[in-house]
């Protein structure tokens, strides 16, 4: 029964309220209890580059392509973001604007809201389908572990980390993961298509 109700909410959100997350909307989905295997059970508060506080569960209702980066990272992180942008560019027309892209910062010290904003602008991800967010060390550790992303803070303040990109479905359940730059976006796209059909 619970599943059925959650499903109805999801359908409502997928087809009834198709505007981007960055816009105002009623958060009916976040009122329901997330599925037991959902990363939306993480209750930490994150802050976007616009200074807006949110919990992950507010992303529910549409697939989210997500990864973790830090903005002073010179080589790997821009490639992760480029890879995610490539996924967005290759979305079939019917999915354009209906998939959320989210990057979460490892760097509690240097990645201020202003830094995130600057980064979003420089990388042209300051659009409604994207968000870049920061939080405290505990929230970062919990999300990285829920996603299965390895990282280590180095002495110079930089981070060593995976290149993992995860796709969670409309309920926050991890449905697809890719951890290298050699993959074709086709597979990611078909994974997203599949979860949109459910």
């Amino acid at each position: 029964m619970k599943k059925l109700i959650a499903g109805c909410f999801a359908i409502l959100f997928m087809y009834g309220v198709p505007q981007a997350w960055g816009h105002e909307h009623t958060s009916g989905m976040s009122m329901t209890e997330p599925q037991t295997g959902s990363i939306y059970n993480l209750k930490d508060t994150w802050t976007t580059s616009e200074g807006k506080n949110f919990q992950l569960t507010e992303l529910a209702g549409r697939p989210v392509v997500m990864s973790m980066i830090y903005t002073s990272c010179k080589e790997v992180c821009p490639r992760i973001v480029e890879d995610m942008k490539k996924i967005e560019r290759t979305l079939p027309p019917e999915l354009v604007g209906r998939v959320q892209f989210a990057v979460f910062s490892f760097d509690t010290q240097r990645d201020t809201i202003d830094k995130l904003k600057e980064y979003a602008k420089a990388h042209h991800i300051d659009t409604p389908t994207w968000l870049i967010a920061r939080s405290d060390a505990g929230a970062i550790r919990r999300l990285s572990i829920a996603l299965g992303m390895k990282y280590k803070k180095l002495r110079d303040g930089d981070f060593e980390h995976d290149t993992l990109i995860s796709v969670v479905d409309q309920y926050g359940v991890i449905s697809y993961r890719v951890n290298n730059f050699t993959h074709e976006t086709d597979e990611t796209i078909s994974a997203i298509k599949k979860m949109m059909k459910q």
Partner: protein, 253 residues
């Protein structure tokens, strides 16, 4: 109210034999040579020591008794209500049900615990899990009794699924900490921080224990450390195991 009574009966049944303590012990800061160097160091230079600041650490691993008190108050961490994202189906499988456990197990280290559960327990006490560097520093014990410890570790690792001893069973090490070896494997806060290859962030390659990875070890004869780092790197946050438990730490302020 009824549940309260049941719990107190369960707890009092074995209170006379309570062994594991919930004392935090102050660990003076220092340095140790990590098994793997940080990024940027090569095999040509000696592995530089890692500094560890003073902190507090549980004298003993957390026991079933202490964990039972935790789930009594924090119902979302009971076996029947745990979210699947936070623990696999092995979570607390050695308990009879949500709030009952064999009296002889009460003072054994709690096992079948996921990282998320261990972390929630420590956080509820305004504590945290020890960092891997802190844990390894305490195990290394400033080099005291190194040869015998390595033997002890290997001997213990070689016996699979042995019956767990009571917590606090082993003699304290030089820091006054017990059971670092010989009882259970323990979660660390940053168990997911292990990157064997210094190039891993550039190449995305994982050569954990073959070829290049093993050449970077500070002591390639330290098989016990290979096993420990290998085990940690194989874990996911929801994993549980019948020999996997934890203890808490705290910043010294």
């Amino acid at each position: 109210m009824i549940k309260q009574a049941v719990l107190s009966v369960i707890v009092s049944a074995a209170s006379l034999v309570a062994m594991g303590s919930d004392d935090l012990v102050a660990i003076p800061g220092g340095s140790y040579v990590p098994f793997y160097p940080q990024k940027g160091t090569t095999t040509k230079t000696p592995v530089p020591p890692t500094l560890v600041e003073s902190f507090l650490l549980d004298r003993d691993p957390v026991t079933n008794r202490r964990y039972l008190e935790f789930v009594f108050q924090h119902t979302e961490w009971r076996r029947s209500s745990i979210k699947r994202i936070f623990a696999d189906s092995g979570y607390l499988q050695h308990w009879n049900n949500d709030l009952s456990i064999l009296p002889e197990d009460l003072d054994k280290p709690v096992v079948n615990i996921s990282w998320f559960a261990a972390e929630a327990f420590c956080e509820a006490k305004q504590e945290r899990l020890p960092m891997t560097d802190e844990w390894e520093y305490v195990l290394e014990d400033l080099g005291r009794g190194k040869a015998s410890r390595m033997q002890q570790v290997l001997q213990w690792y070689s016996i699979p699924n042995r019956e767990l001893p009571q917590a606090g069973n082993s003699p304290p090490n030089g820091f006054g900490i017990r059971d670092m070896v010989g009882a259970i494997w323990e979660w660390t806060e940053d168990f997911n921080s292990f990157m064997a290859s210094p190039d891993s962030r550039d190449s995305g390659q994982r050569n954990m224990f073959c070829g290049g990875g093993s050449l970077n070890a500070s002591d390639p004869t330290d098989y016990a450390s290979f096993m420990r780092y290998s085990f940690r790197s194989s874990l996911q946050g929801d994993f549980t195991g019948r020999n996997l438990g934890f203890r808490c730490a705290k910043d010294l302020k």
